[in-house]
C-alpha cells in the first residue's frame, strides 16, 4: 500500500487499513502482513496506470458487471456528431471514446500507452512503425486492418472533412501499409509526441471508407444503440471489446443538459448518475447531499489575458509586463473560481504536465510595479479598452477585477462586455486587449505549436520569437526525454518573461456523481476522466 492511499483515507482505503489491523490484532505472521501489503500495493500499481490516487484506492474493489447509467454533460446540440474528426465539445469526445478506440490512449500523466497499436517504434521521431494489435474487431465483425488506420489518419488532411485536427494532421506526410498488420507513418518533420497526439479523440480509428456518420461502427467499448443529435446517445456493451473484462456497464446513456443548475438537480434527484462541468458554487450543495460527491480534476485549461501586438501600445513589452502585474491571481482564484484551480505564472504548462518546470519566480499582484511599467511605456491617461465575454470562462469577472486595480497603477481601463455568441469568430484575437480560453492540450508541443509559435494561426498575442520557434523544433525532434524537458523548461521561462499573454490560473474541471458509481478517476486533460470514463466505471448495487 502506498503512502498516498493512507493519506487519502477515504472509505475503500480505510477498509485496507482495517484489514491490516485485523491481521495484526490476531497476531498475524509477518508473512501474512507482508502478503496483505503486497496485494494492496499490487492493486494500486495496476490501478495506477488506469486511475489516479482516488481511483487507485478503489482499485482493490472488484468491479461489478452490468447495470446502466445515465450521464449528463454540459453540451448537447443539433451539432452533435459521431464523426471523431468533427468533435468540438465534451459530449462529442465522450461519445467518440465510447464508440471508437485510438492507436494509443492517455494515462493519468498525459503519457501515451498502447491501445490498438501494439507498438509504436521510431528511430528518428519522423518515421514511425505501428504494429497493430491482432484480433481486434469492429462492431460489425470486420477485423481491424492497416487500411482502416490509414483512412482514419489521412482523412483529416482533406479540407472537406472539416477536421478540427487538420493542423495536427498536416504533420503527417504519409501513412502506408507495410505489412499485414503494420502501418508506417512518415511525418513532415520529427515529432516525438506523435503517440500522444494519436491518443486524442480526433484521431480515433474508424472503418476504412466511412463517410456517413448517422451511426458509428468502431472498435470501442460500446456500440451505438440510439443516436439523436441534441437529445441522447445510447451505447450498449460491446461484448467483443479488445480489452478483456471491459467495459463493466451494460449500457451508458449520454445526454446534454446545458443549464448548470438543472444538471445538478438532475443528479441530486437521481435521474442521472454522473455530470460534468459543475460550477464551484454547486460543489457544497452536492457534497452536502448524502450519496453524492464531486471529483476535482486539475487540468491545464486556462483563461488568459491577451495583450495583442497590433502595432499599438499593446505590443510594448513594458505595457504587457504592467498588465500582468495588475492581475490579482489569488483573488481571481478565490472570488471567480471559489478556490478551485492552480495559480499560474503567465506560461501555459501546468503542474500536472510532465514537462512542467518548477521554480520560475511567481509574478505577484503588484500595482506599484505595474505603475512603473506603465509609466515606462508612456501609457498616459488615454482610456484603454478591454474586451471580455462569458464565452471565455471567468473573463468578465477578471476584467472587472483588472479595472478595479487599474487606477492604483494609473491606468484608465474600460471593460467592454460582448456576448458569448460569435465571440470566437468576431472578438477573439481581434482586439489589443481581450481574453481567450484555451482547453488543456494533450502535449506541451501541441500547446506551444498552436498558440505560441510565431506563425501559429492562434498566436493570440501575435508574439514573435525566433528563439522560441527554434527551441520548439529542437524539442519536438529530441528523442531523449531529459533533454526535451530541459528545452521545454527554457521555453516556459521565455514565455513567462517576455510572452504576450497573462495566464492567471489553471482551471479545474469538476464532476459530480453518485457514490454508487465507482472507478472514476482523473486524467488531467479534462473532467470525466479525460472523457474516457465510460469503459472504466461500474455501478455498485
Amino acid at each position: 500500500m502506498n503512502k498516498q492511499n493512507l493519506q487519502h483515507a477515504d472509505a475503500p482505503a480505510g477498509t485496507e487499513v482495517t484489514e491490516l489491523e485485523r491481521l495484526t490484532r490476531r497476531g498475524a505472521s509477518r508473512r501474512e502482513v507482508l502478503r496483505a501489503l503486497a496485494a494492496a500495493g499490487m492493486a494500486s500499481i495496476t490501478g495506477a496506470g488506469l486511475l489516479t490516487a482516488s481511483g487507485a484506492a478503489f482499485a482493490q474493489e472488484k468491479p461489478k458487471q452490468g447495470g446502466k447509467i445515465r450521464v449528463a454533460t454540459q453540451s448537447a446540440s443539433a451539432a452533435d456528431t459521431l464523426d471523431p474528426a468533427k468533435g468540438a465539445l465534451g459530449t462529442d469526445y465522450v461519445r467518440a471514446f465510447m464508440v471508437y478506440s485510438g492507436l494509443t490512449e492517455l494515462d493519468s500523466h498525459l503519457g501515451a500507452k498502447m491501445a490498438l497499436a501494439e507498438s509504436l517504434e521510431t528511430k528518428d521521431a519522423t518515421v514511425w512503425i505501428v504494429k497493430l494489435r491482432s484480433g481486434v474487431q469492429f462492431h460489425d465483425g470486420k477485423s481491424l486492418t492497416p487500411a482502416d488506420v490509414i483512412y482514419s489518419l489521412l482523412r483529416h488532411k482533406d479540407p472537406a472533412t472539416a477536421s478540427k485536427a487538420k493542423t495536427l494532421a498536416d504533420q503527417i506526410k504519409d501513412a502506408k501499409a507495410t505489412g499485414p498488420n503494420e502501418v508506417t507513418i512518415t511525418l513532415e518533420g520529427a515529432n516525438a509526441d506523435l503517440p500522444v497526439i494519436l491518443a486524442t479523440s480526433h484521431f480515433l480509428i474508424i472503418k476504412d471508407g466511412t463517410t456517413d456518420f448517422k451511426t458509428a461502427i468502431g472498435t470501442g467499448p460500446f456500440k451505438i444503440k440510439d443516436f439523436s443529435p441534441g437529445v441522447r446517445t445510447v451505447g450498449v456493451k460491446n461484448e467483443k471489446y479488445w480489452k478483456p473484462g471491459l467495459p463493466h456497464l451494460d449500457e451508458v446513456e449520454l445526454i446534454g443538459i446545458g443549464d448548470e443548475s438543472a444538471r445538478v438537480n438532475a443528479l441530486l434527484s437521481g435521474d442521472v448518475q454522473l455530470i460534468n462541468a459543475i460550477s464551484p458554487r454547486s460543489t457544497g450543495r452536492i457534497k452536502g447531499t448524502p450519496g453524492f460527491t464531486v471529483l476535482e480534476t486539475k487540468t491545464g485549461q486556462y483563461t488568459d489575458l491577451i495583450v495583442r501586438d497590433d502595432g499599438g501600445i499593446s505590443g510594448n513589452d513594458d505595457f504587457r509586463r504592467g498588465m500582468f502585474y495588475l492581475m490579482d491571481r489569488e483573488q481571481i482564484r478565490r472570488a471567480v473560481f471559489q478556490g478551485f484551480g492552480t495559480i499560474a505564472n503567465d506560461q501555459p504548462i501546468d503542474p500536472t504536465n510532465k514537462y512542467y518546470m518548477p521554480g520560475i519566480p511567481q509574478r505577484p499582484y503588484d500595482p506599484d510595479k505595474a505603475k512603473f511599467y506603465f509609466q515606462k511605456a508612456k501609457v498616459g491617461n488615454t482610456p484603454v479598452q478591454i474586451f471580455a465575454s462569458p464565452a471565455a470562462d471567468g473573463s468578465v469577472e477578471m476584467a472587472v477585477l483588472l479595472q478595479q486595480a487599474a487606477p492604483a497603477a494609473g491606468l484608465n481601463l474600460q471593460v467592454t462586455r460582448v456576448p458569448a455568441d460569435g465571440y470566437w469568430s468576431n472578438h477573439w484575437m481581434k482586439h489589443p486587449l481581450g481574453f481567450g480560453n484555451i482547453n488543456a492540450r494533450p502535449s506541451a508541443d501541441v500547446l506551444f505549436t498552436q498558440f505560441f509559435k510565431s506563425d501559429a494561426p492562434w498566436n493570440e498575442a501575435n508574439w514573435k520569437s525566433p528563439k522560441f520557434d527554434q527551441m520548439l523544433l529542437a524539442a519536438r525532434g529530441e528523442p531523449d526525454d531529459a533533454k526535451r524537458k530541459q528545452i521545454y523548461g527554457d521555453m516556459q521561462v521565455l514565455v513567462h518573461e517576455s510572452g504576450g499573454v497573462g495566464i492567471p490560473m489553471f482551471q479545474s474541471s469538476i464532476d459530480g456523481y453518485t457514490t454508487k458509481l465507482k472507478g472514476l478517476g482523473s486524467i488531467p486533460l479534462a473532467g470525466l476522466m479525460g472523457f474516457m470514463f465510460a469503459e472504466h466505471v461500474w455501478l455498485e448495487s
Binding site: K164, A165, G230
Partner: protein
C-alpha cells in the same frame, strides 16, 4: 355557411403561403446579418482561414446570398427542406423527431390550461368585484409575473430533489404507462400553465363581463334564468370568438416560446432545436423550424376565426 367558410379557408391559406414566403425571406436576411456563419461556428476555435474557406465551399456558403435563398426556396417548393449544415441529417428528419414532442407538450398543456383558465375567467366574471374575483386576479397575475425559469427551478428543487416524487428530466423514451406520462409531464405542464392561464383567464373574464352588460343578458335575468344558465346558455356562445382568439394566441406560444422549459427539463422539443440551429448558423434548419412555427401560428389563428364564425349565427348565415 359552407361557401363562406371554404372561401375564408382558401383565402387564408393563400395568405398563409404569402406570409411564409415573407417570413422566410426576413429570417434569411436577419440570420445572414448575424456575426459568423455555419463554417466558422462548426470549426469554432479551430477555424483557420483555410479550413473555413474549404467548409464554406462544401456548405455552398461561398455562393451569393440571393442565389442561396432561391436555391433553398426551390428545394422547399419541391418538398425538400434541405440538409442541416451542422450534422448533415435531413432537416425534415430532425424536425420530425422533435415535432411530436412539441405537439405532445403543447397538447397536454392546452388540455390542462384551457379548462382551468375558462373556469377562472368565467367565475371571476360571474362574481366580479367579490373576494373570489380579487383572489383569483392576484393569483393569476402573480403566477404570470414570476419568470418561468424560477417556477421551473423551484418545482424541480421541491418535487424532484427534495421530495423525489417526480423526475427532474422529462424523458420521452420511457413513457410506458399513463402514470409514467403524468409523472414526466407534471412539472413542465404545470410551469407552462402558470404562464398561460393568467392571460387566457383575463381575456375570458373581460369577454364574459362585456357580454354580461349586454341587454339580452338583462332580458334573460328578467325572464328568471338562473345565473348559471345565463352565463352558460346565453353569454358563453357569444364570447367564443374572443376567447378562441385569446386561446389561439396563447397556444401558439407553446411551440416556439418554450425554450426555457425545454432546457430546464431537458425536453427535446422544437424550440431548443431552433436555438441550436441559430447558434450554429444552420440556415436550412432555422428556416425549417421557422416555417413550422409560422405555419402552426397561422393554423391556430385560422381555427380561432373559424370557431368565431361557427359560433356566430349572423356570420354563419352569410
Amino acid at each position: 355557411m359552407k361557401a363562406h367558410a371554404s372561401r375564408l379557408i382558401a383565402a387564408r391559406l393563400g395568405l398563409a403561403l404569402l406570409t411564409l414566403l415573407i417570413v422566410s425571406a426576413v429570417v434569411f436576411g436577419i440570420t445572414g446579418l448575424l456575426p459568423g456563419d455555419a463554417a466558422q461556428q462548426a470549426l469554432g476555435q479551430a477555424a483557420t482561414p483555410e479550413a473555413v474557406t474549404a467548409l464554406r465551399h462544401q456548405f455552398g456558403l461561398d455562393q451569393p446570398a440571393l442565389q442561396r435563398y432561391f436555391e433553398w426556396l426551390y428545394l422547399v417548393v419541391s418538398g425538400n427542406f434541405g440538409t442541416s449544415l451542422s450534422n448533415s441529417l435531413p432537416v425534415s428528419q430532425l424536425i420530425a423527431t422533435r415535432l411530436p414532442n412539441s405537439l405532445m407538450l403543447a397538447g397536454l398543456t392546452a388540455l390542462v390550461s384551457v379548462p382551468v383558465a375558462l373556469f377562472i375567467g368565467i367565475s371571476s366574471a360571474m362574481f366580479r368585484g367579490s373576494l373570489l374575483d380579487r383572489v383569483l386576479n392576484v393569483l393569476t397575475l402573480s403566477t404570470v409575473a414570476v419568470p418561468e425559469f424560477l417556477i421551473a427551478t423551484i418545482a424541480v428543487l421541491v418535487f424532484a430533489v427534495k421530495l423525489r416524487w417526480l423526475p427532474a428530466l422529462s424523458y420521452l423514451s420511457e413513457v410506458s404507462s399513463f402514470g409514467g406520462l403524468l409523472r414526466i409531464y407534471a412539472m413542465p405542464v404545470m410551469t407552462l400553465c402558470c404562464v398561460l392561464v393568467a392571460q387566457m383567464a383575463r381575456m375570458t373574464r373581460a369577454a364574459v363581463l362585456d357580454q354580461l352588460n349586454a341587454s339580452y343578458v338583462e332580458m334573460a335575468i328578467l325572464k328568471g334564468a338562473s345565473p348559471m344558465r345565463v352565463v352558460l346558455r346565453h353569454v358563453l356562445p357569444n364570447t367564443i370568438g374572443p376567447i378562441a382568439n385569446a386561446v389561439a394566441l396563447s397556444l401558439s406560444y407553446l411551440f416556439g416560446g418554450v425554450v426555457i422549459v425545454e432546457s430546464i427539463f431537458n425536453y427535446p422539443g422544437l424550440a431548443s432545436l431552433m436555438v441550436d440551429a441559430v447558434t450554429n448558423r444552420d440556415m436550412p434548419l432555422v428556416q425549417g423550424c421557422v416555417m413550422v412555427f409560422c405555419a402552426a401560428y397561422l393554423l391556430l389563428v385560422l381555427i380561432a376565426d373559424l370557431a368565431q364564425i361557427v359560433s356566430n349565427p349572423r356570420l354563419r348565415q352569410r
